[in-house]
């Protein structure tokens, strides 16, 4: 009996191998970094739908936690063991480019753009040397989220300017039960993003259009000084917080407002059974301020290994294009993290798009409409003029923005001194694209 089973399995393996060898079934593999089970399930839903439409292509997803993405990418490129494509953020995309591991995807982006219409601001972060190196799949805008009940109780309107924000934070702070705002000052991505939520409206530019470092400016100093002032109303210990602590404390009602992604709506609806969550655009200085915020597009880059076989490459391109179909993109955005992963094509943002039929999106319709509007005002630090300086990958990786804020908030340095240090550090890492 055992022998018979072994013989049957061997035969199946032989047939499958033959089919693969003769190109009848192509298996493509991709890495993504969304470890929670429900996100993996969302990807699998898209994969299953794709495999139904393309029965000769098999797709396999592999999860690489964000913390390991850079080291695994470097190791895979050096060892020649890369998957076919990988999800990334702009600095990981640059990292893979610097290692010589990826191919331009300009043609594919143009194909998708013709069908679904990319928001051009979200392509800037992936364009350099005359090509596009990543296909944006979704983006992540930050707004000022708040608990309406707390503001109503205090008789405060949602703030629109920095002055109103400071006043609101002060009024809402009742230690130790509640704090008006949540800000951090650690060497992590959250702090960098929060920094940009104030620097962008102030008018900061890390680089000019020629890639020269222009970080040390009155606009930056103003933003850092304001951050320091506002930090007084943030909970003790928040300097060292990352995502989990911020979300837990906000959900527990200890924080009234915080610059953040809109993704807490899922937790509010499913776990807290509450709709006490709203948002306004990031406040700006009342004088010489800009209606700007942070957006963080997530894209896909294609490794050189996939390009060795034209059939394989076409399979990869087919899957990437499939992900941008409105019903599929809805699964990857609203199905994974409603409010955090926001679509970035005109087709997805149109009123008749399936995105707006998702239950969580519907439950927080005003919040989600705001998030979509804010994408158009969104920028990412160092990419204000596109990719003009390849050093931005190192600047982000080394948490220079986070360290500037840490020097001021934790170290007690003056904003001028901290920003001057940031300028010097950025100049050391600067590599303008010529």
């Amino acid at each position: 009996m055992l022998l018979k089973r072994v013989w049957m399995l061997s035969l199946v393996a032989l047939v499958f191998g033959t089919c693969v060898a003769f190109g009848e079934i192509i298996e493509i593999v991709f890495w993504h970094h969304e470890a929670p089970a429900y996100r993996v399930a969302a990807f699998q839903q898209v994969i299953d739908a794709f495999e139904k439409e393309y029965p000769n292509i098999r797709v396999r997803q592999e999860v690489v936690p964000w913390g390991e993405a850079w080291s695994r990418t470097a190791a895979a490129i050096r060892a020649g063991t890369t998957p076919d494509f990988q999800f990334d953020i702009p600095d990981l995309n640059l990292y893979a480019y610097e290692l010589g591991g990826i191919i331009p995807v300009t043609e594919l982006v143009e194909r998708i753009d013709a069908k679904y219409g990319f928001l051009k601001s979200q392509l800037l972060m992936y364009q350099h040397h005359g090509e596009i190196w990543g296909v944006p799949i979704w983006t992540m805008p930050m707004v000022l989220i708040y608990r309406p009940s707390m503001l109503e109780e205090a008789g405060i309107l949602p703030p629109r300017t920095w002055e109103e924000l400071l006043e609101a934070a002060a009024k809402l702070t009742k230690p130790p039960e509640r704090y008006g705002i949540m800000l951090t000052a650690g060497l992590n991505l959250l702090t960098q993003e929060l920094a940009w939520c104030f620097m962008a409206p102030s008018g900061t530019e890390l680089f000019d259009a020629n890639g020269n470092v222009t970080f040390n400016s009155p606009q930056t100093i103003r933003a850092v000084a304001f951050y320091k002032e506002l930090f007084k109303y943030s909970p003790p210990g928040s300097a060292a917080w990352i995502w989990g602590e911020a979300e837990l404390n906000f959900g527990a009602g200890r924080i009234a407002m915080m610059p953040y992604f809109g993704g807490l709506q899922k937790r509010f609806l499913e776990d807290l059974k509450s709709t006490d969550l709203a948002a306004v655009p990031m406040p700006m200085p009342s004088e010489c301020g800009y209606a700007r915020t942070l957006t963080y597009p997530n894209a896909v880059h294609v490794f050189k290994s996939a390009a060795k076989d034209p059939k394989r490459l076409e399979a990869v391109f087919s899957f990437i294009e499939f992900m941008m179909k409105p019903d599929m993109n809805t699964i990857l955005t609203a199905g994974q993290e409603p409010g955090s992963f926001v679509p970035l094509t005109e087709a997805m943002l149109a009123p008749d798009s399936p995105y707006w039929n998702h239950p969580t999106i519907k439950a927080f319709l005003d919040l989600n409409r705001l998030l979509v509007r804010e994408i158009r005002y969104g920028t990412l630090y160092g990419f204000e003029h596109g990719v003009v300086n390849l050093g931005i990958g190192e600047i982000i990786g080394e948490n220079v923005l986070g360290e500037v804020l840490q020097r001021v908030v934790v170290g007690g340095e003056s904003p001028e001194a901290a920003v001057a240090w940031g300028q010097k550090r950025m100049e050391e890492l600067s590599r303008p694209v010529r």
Binding site: S71, P176, G186, P236, A239, A240, N249, E394
Partner: protein, 285 residues
Amino acid sequence: MRGKIGFVLIAPVLVLILFSYGYPLFDLIRSSFFVTRAGVNEYVGLFNYQKVLSSSIFYQAVVNSLRWTGLSLAIQLSVPLILALALNQRFWGNSLARVLMLVPWIMPTVVVAIMLRWLLEPNVGLINHFLRSLGIVRTPIDFLGSTQSAFLTLVCANSWQFLPFGTLLILAGLQTIPHDVLEAAWVDGAGVWQRFRYIIFPLLGPVIGFVFFLAFVWNFNTLGLIWLTTQGGPLNTTLTLPVLIYRRAFRGFAMGEAAAMGSLASVALMIVGVFYFKYLWKRPT
């Protein structure tokens, strides 16, 4: 003939060491002479070494590493010795205590780091809750966010993880001390301290020496706990050399520079190791 047979028997292990340590070390040193940009490896000679040796942050990381190692050794040699002496006694629950003592060692570093962040969180963490309930502190302590406390907090957490290993090695060493020698000393009127000072401690010397060296190398190379909690902050107070190397390699795109630092650290540790085992460590007799 016996020597040849011995060499043949350890040859497979030597080959394994050559491939798993020798080749990576060779590649590390080789990488330190290159800069990689857009996939192109450019030979730059000693440029990476010059950059590293003229960087103030490198020296800050080295000093932090030596402080980290020194403080950790002080804890990781004294506490395991005390624990091993205690566990070497007969008492009710001795077996259970030995098993429970292993818990820190078997917990993955990621779990320890996440637990630490939550336990020490100033607002909702258990540690601050207990300290305030007992009236020991009035305002919460920001263990991981303060430049005064972050370093010591992580040293203690790291040492807590190492304790079982050191304790087990020393306990094994204690088990080899002949009972009749200790009994004879007791019969002759030697007290607890005298038995420890003149019999137990000298006989434990080689074991403690071995634990010292292992602890020295492992602590010097600690990365996971620091990276997962403070990432070298706040304000580089917990920035040790391994953290700086990791940051430059995998966040800063500077593989060559990181390889230069790694090479310097590897060579330094090897020199320390050779010197230690040749001149300082006493082989057990």
